[in-house]
Amino acid sequence: MAALPVQAAVRGDFVVLLVLVDTEDTMDQVAEKVARHVIDRRLPPQGGRPVVRVNGQDLPPGTTVAQAGIGPMQFIEVRYE
């Protein structure tokens, strides 16, 4: 387990955020850590489930940060569908 800074945005928001995740976080947990800065703050509560997109690919919700090979300050986008 190790803390890892990434840059992230929720689709529909306006800014790229610095978010600290853990290498053992699943994509669902990553989405939650990003969304807490955005949902009900600048975007209304979203329906559907969160999807994390990295390097143009949607990652399965149970995949961990380490498994996905996400590196420091890589950009991740969260969207809901």
């Binding site: 928001d13 306006f14 800014v15 790229v16 800065h37 703050r41 975007l43």
Partner: protein, 501 residues
């Protein structure tokens, strides 16, 4: 009393150029300081400007100007004018005072460098006046807010800002060091006096002066109008320098200097002037929108002058710059308001129903784009949950302009294809940029920029402890009485449309 008439000595003394016999020209004018680009000395001697001042005339003029502004200051102080000003307008002038006076003082270094390393005596003469001008501007714009500190402690940041690591201060230092504090004479003439002063300072100084007079802020209006009279004169160093370069086959070099600094100026003025004009100035006193000012002063007047000199609009004009007029500063405003504890003024949300109507009129579609974010914020304020309108993390900032990256904003409103920041790997380090243009500027001169650490880089490097919002506020030098708050104590969120509407 002078024995000679002005016309009998002026040209002779102003154009005192000569060939060097005991030293090499390159020793007198090192390329690093002058950047002559191989243009011969005699070609530089054709440099000319229209003001043709003598030192005697200069000092008489400047005494009159200072007498005028300090007289007005004396009167307005007695009338307690500041207390009567709108809170949003007070924020506009505090943002100005924090960002401008010390850089003006630093600009005297750039002017002094041109006064020594400029390649024509006439240019060095003009730059000497420029150095004195900028000293005056630094002093006046530090003194005016200094006398208001007892009424508003945030005014202390007029002198303090540039000495802190506040994120806007880092952005301003990065820009102004690039533009004049650490620049050669020719580039300073093209980038500071031509691009920045001839083009952009009109926006801040004439545009804001017009708004100041409407608002009733005689003091600020008189101050910056007086400064602009100096700027209009010493900005004239740019055009003759550009003419010499173009006449000697150096148009491409000059064009690149302009392309770089036009974009960097646009970035900082969006942040400073864009917010002030479209959100902080009271609605009833707004003379034009920021976009209208840009269209009048930059797109029409400045670029007409530029093209008359045989130059082209910057390569990113149609593809990147013009589209940003509709969204970039609106996104910055949202960010500055949300991260308001990180600035030295009180951001005015400026989104009451009447203000939103004005924004919709000036920027059709504003309610359906930017309004959506403000709807959520407004609802949280109304529910008494203002804590949800405050930050718990940081935005990532651009490694060139040092301003937060808001590419998702451009994407969300349909102006950018992707929300992803622009990135670059250089010497094993990842750099993040807000735009293709900031990345292009970096790639043009990586050796100039690569060592700089943005405030986010400093956080990740462990320089900010604890690495929290509170730790960052302390690192930026922001104390509770200075940290920005909503300028109107959220009254805008509870304002309702008039019954007739």
């Amino acid at each position: 009393m002078p024995k000679l008439q002005r016309q009998q000595y002026y040209d002779l003394t102003r154009d005192m150029n000569w060939h060097f016999r005991y030293v090499d020209e390159a020793e007198v004018f090192p390329e690093a300081m002058s950047k002559s680009l191989g243009v011969p000395a005699e070609e530089w001697w054709k440099w000319d400007e229209p003001y043709k001042l003598t030192f005697r005339e200069y000092t008489y003029n400047q005494v009159d100007k200072d007498t005028g502004i300090y007289s007005i200051k004396s009167v307005t102080n007695r009338a307690n004018l500041y207390e009567k000003l709108d809170s949003g307008w007070r924020s506009a002038i505090k943002a100005h005072y924090g960002a401008i006076p010390v850089p003006e003082y630093l600009a005297s270094i750039g002017e002094a460098r041109m006064a020594r390393f400029g390649r024509a005596a006439a240019w060095r003469n003009m730059a000497t006046f420029g150095a004195l001008d900028e000293t005056r501007h630094g002093q006046a714009q530090a003194w005016f807010p200094y006398s208001l500190i007892d009424k508003d402690p945030q005014m202390d940041w007029a002198l303090k800002t540039l000495h802190t690591n506040e994120w806007g201060a880092i952005a301003a230092r990065h820009l102004f060091d690039d533009m004049f504090t650490a620049n050669d004479a020719v580039s300073t003439a093209i980038q500071l006096t031509f691009t920045f002063e001839t083009g952009f300072t009109n926006l801040q100084f004439l545009g804001m002066a017009a708004d100041a007079l409407h608002v009733g802020d005689m003091e600020f209006g008189a101050l910056i109008s007086s400064i602009q009279t100096d700027e209009a004169r010493h900005a004239q160093q740019g055009e003759p320098t550009l003419r010499v370069l173009v006449a000697n086959g150096k148009k491409a070099e000059a064009q690149k200097m302009v392309d770089i600094m036009f974009w960097r100026s646009w970035r900082i003025f969006s942040l400073l002037t864009g917010l002030s004009m479209d959100y902080y100035t009271p609605l009833e006193y707004r003379s034009m929108s920021f976009k209208e000012f840009m269209e009048e002063w930059i797109i029409k007047q400045f670029m007409d002058q530029f093209k008359d000199l045989g130059m082209n609009t910057p390569w990113y004009w149609e593809s990147h710059f013009l589209p940003e007029l509709d969204w970039y500063h609106h996104g910055l405003h949202l960010g500055v308001w949300f991260w308001r504890p990180t600035v030295w003024w009180n951001p005015d949300a400026g989104v009451s129903p009447a203000e939103r109507d004005w924004l919709e009129e000036k920027y059709p579609g504003w309610n359906d784009t930017f309004g959506r974010w403000w709807d959520v914020i407004t609802e949280n304020v109304r529910k008494g949950e203002a804590n949800k309108t405050l930050p718990e993390t940081f935005p990532v900032v651009c490694n060139l302009c040092q301003i937060p990256i808001i590419t998702p904003c451009g994407h969300a409103i349909g102006k950018l294809e992707r929300p992803i920041p622009f990135m670059l790997e250089y010497n094993g380090r990842q750099y993040n940029f807000c735009s293709e243009i900031c990345r292009w500027i970096f790639k043009e001169q990586p050796e100039r920029y690569h060592g700089h650490l943005s405030i986010v880089d400093r956080l990740l490097a462990g320089q900010i402890q604890p690495p929290t919002v509170e730790g960052a506020l302390a690192y930026m030098g922001l104390t509770p009485e200075i940290m920005g708050q909503d300028a109107d104590n959220y009254q805008w969120a509870f304002a309702e449309r008039k019954a007739a509407e």
